[in-house]
């Protein structure tokens, strides 16, 4: 058992899809066996440059390829946005606990995404579609800044046509070409078609969005233990050793990154 926990495996960039001005999806083909559970994250290395954490956005049942949807937001991601197809990247992981799908069985599943936060949720949605008979209903609520910032533009209409699915999108700022709902994502969380006694809410997006969505969900009657949040901290080693992603007495990398609101509500500064 002499595995080197810091050594990445090689993955080749097979395809690059431009989702919006700042977001691209990279399809990676790992050269060794690699699998993950939905909601777990990976560390992606740009050799000689740096490493950053991402939650795959693809269906975990697809074993030979993984998609990673990346917003150009920092030093590593800006360089990742400029790599050509067929580049070699490094992957470590998967890390963390992912979504506890078995706890969602037999329930109404509300999924609320904000901006690039829809990326890990796409992986979740695709997993749920794979065993849709296990869930009562899938209620999707997705908000982005403008129509141009929406991602998975082709997939979303397709999802909304699936049985058991109720999907609404919104943009913070509309424009003449936008025909849909305008307003923050919290404005499409009124009168949710869910049975509150038997529902879970899964939220992923920028911290400020997660904060207000969580408050809204509590307000409409969700219990803290039924709200699942993807905490964004500085995950680096992925193994609870380097210290950077500590959140109270948890490490986001190994104890999360998905936490129930119940688990984190008494901690300080969770939305910072």
């Amino acid at each position: 058992m002499n595995k080197n926990i810091y050594k990445p495996i090689e993955a080749v960039v097979e395809d690059i899809i431009t989702e919006s001005q700042t977001i691209k999806t990279f399809t990676l083909r790992p050269k060794e066996n690699f699998s993950f559970r939905t909601g777990q994250f990976i560390e992606l290395t740009l050799p000689g440059i740096g490493e950053a954490p991402f939650t795959p956005s693809s269906d975990p049942n697809v074993k030979d390829k993984i998609d990673v949807t990346i917003m150009n937001a920092g030093s590593v991601t800006s360089l990742l946005h400029n790599i050509p197809k067929n580049s070699s990247l490094g992957i470590r992981g998967p890390y963390g606990k992912g979504y506890p799908l078995e706890k969602f069985h037999g329930k109404d599943v509300l999924i609320v995404g904000g901006g690039v936060g829809l990326a890990p949720l796409r992986s979740l949605v695709l997993s749920l579609f794979g065993q849709i008979d296990k869930y009562k209903k899938l209620v999707l609520r997705y908000g982005a800044r403008t129509g141009g910032d929406l991602i998975y533009k082709d997939a979303i209409p397709e999802w909304s046509r699936k049985p058991k699915v109720d999907l609404v999108t919104t943009v913070d700022v509309g424009d003449p070409s936008w025909k849909g709902h305008v307003g923050l994502v919290t404005t499409i969380l009124e009168d949710l078609p869910v049975n509150l006694g038997n529902a879970v809410g899964i939220v992923c997006g920028p911290p400020i969005m997660m904060k207000f969505v969580t408050m809204k969900l509590l307000d409409v009657g969700f219990k803290p233990k039924d709200i699942y949040l993807s905490m964004e901290k500085n995950m680096s080693c992925g193994l609870g050793k380097c210290g950077h992603c500590r959140l109270g007495s948890y490490y986001t990398c190994k104890d999360g990154p998905v936490f129930t609101y119940e688990e984190v509500k008494d901690l300080h500064d969770i939305w910072d």
Partner: protein, 355 residues
Amino acid sequence: MYNIYFAKTEQLESFAKELKKLARVFAPLAKDAQSPKQTDYLYQRLCEDTALAFNPYRTVEPLKSFFTYKYEKVADYFNSAKNLTDITEKTVIFGVKSCDIAGHKIQDFVFLEGVEVDSLYRARRENTIIISGDCTDFKEVCHCLAWEIMPFPSAGFDLNLSPLNDGFIVEVGSKKGQELVNQHKDYFTPVKDTQIAGRNAKRQSILDRLKRHLLFQNLVSKDQVQNLIREGFSLDTWKEFMLNCVECGGCNFICDTCHCFLLADSSQKQQQNGKLRLWDSCQYKNYARVAGGANPQKTRAARLRFRFTKKFDFFVDNLGAPACCGCGRCIEVCPGKIDIREVLKDLANKLKKQQ
């Protein structure tokens, strides 16, 4: 229960010489040999002609510096089949103290337990012999007893030395230690009851002196500290002590229990292409920053508190004990004179006033 022996000073010297043939041997060296009870001790690799010195208290460097380095390569990229764990050298360390052993438990917890084992750390651990020693004196900053750590170890070493008259009582603490003694039988004699009594008396003496030293300091105790940190979260203590912080990270780097590291990538231009591990400090501004610029530990006060909540809340929750061994290294190193004992006492005093 392992065996206990006695070795005369010359015999221990010869033993150390023998060890040099088998391994790299490190031992503390007095900065000023003329004043052995005031000076600092630094680890040095024993060469042919350096004599073994006995340090009355802990060294300047933390024990962790033998197991993780401030800057090192920890992995090659995928294009290499090299395994970095194959190149660790056999090492013997003299002069380790009880506080270091307590701190080392935290390092072991981080690197040997949890989700996965750090194989590089484990290889170094397995290739290292720890020869500890009783404290026969203490520094002003020493406060191991506050955390219920004795100034002499009872476990966690391979061999432990207790100085007595013209030699040392050598207590075996592990299989590795027993093997080492068995291989060098000539240097060790069976211990006598009177010698054990002598060790006990010396231990009681240092214990009494250290207790007297700490008595008037009125330190926060082990069972109070977690509550104190939780209840003191919003107190001004953090802002007040932060004023002196220059964000050098010295407190973290010199700490026996601090383990945080930065996993970085070496530039392709460099020969050492791969993953680098560098000691990191939670007192640095960008420690917790994420892509896009959000930073949950924006202020120096928040970061000072972060260091304390890690030691006294996180580790109490996760390991059942605070991550401070009372070595006082962070107190000595701090250019802003931020004293871990004073921060805790200030929290306690402020909370008392609030009641």
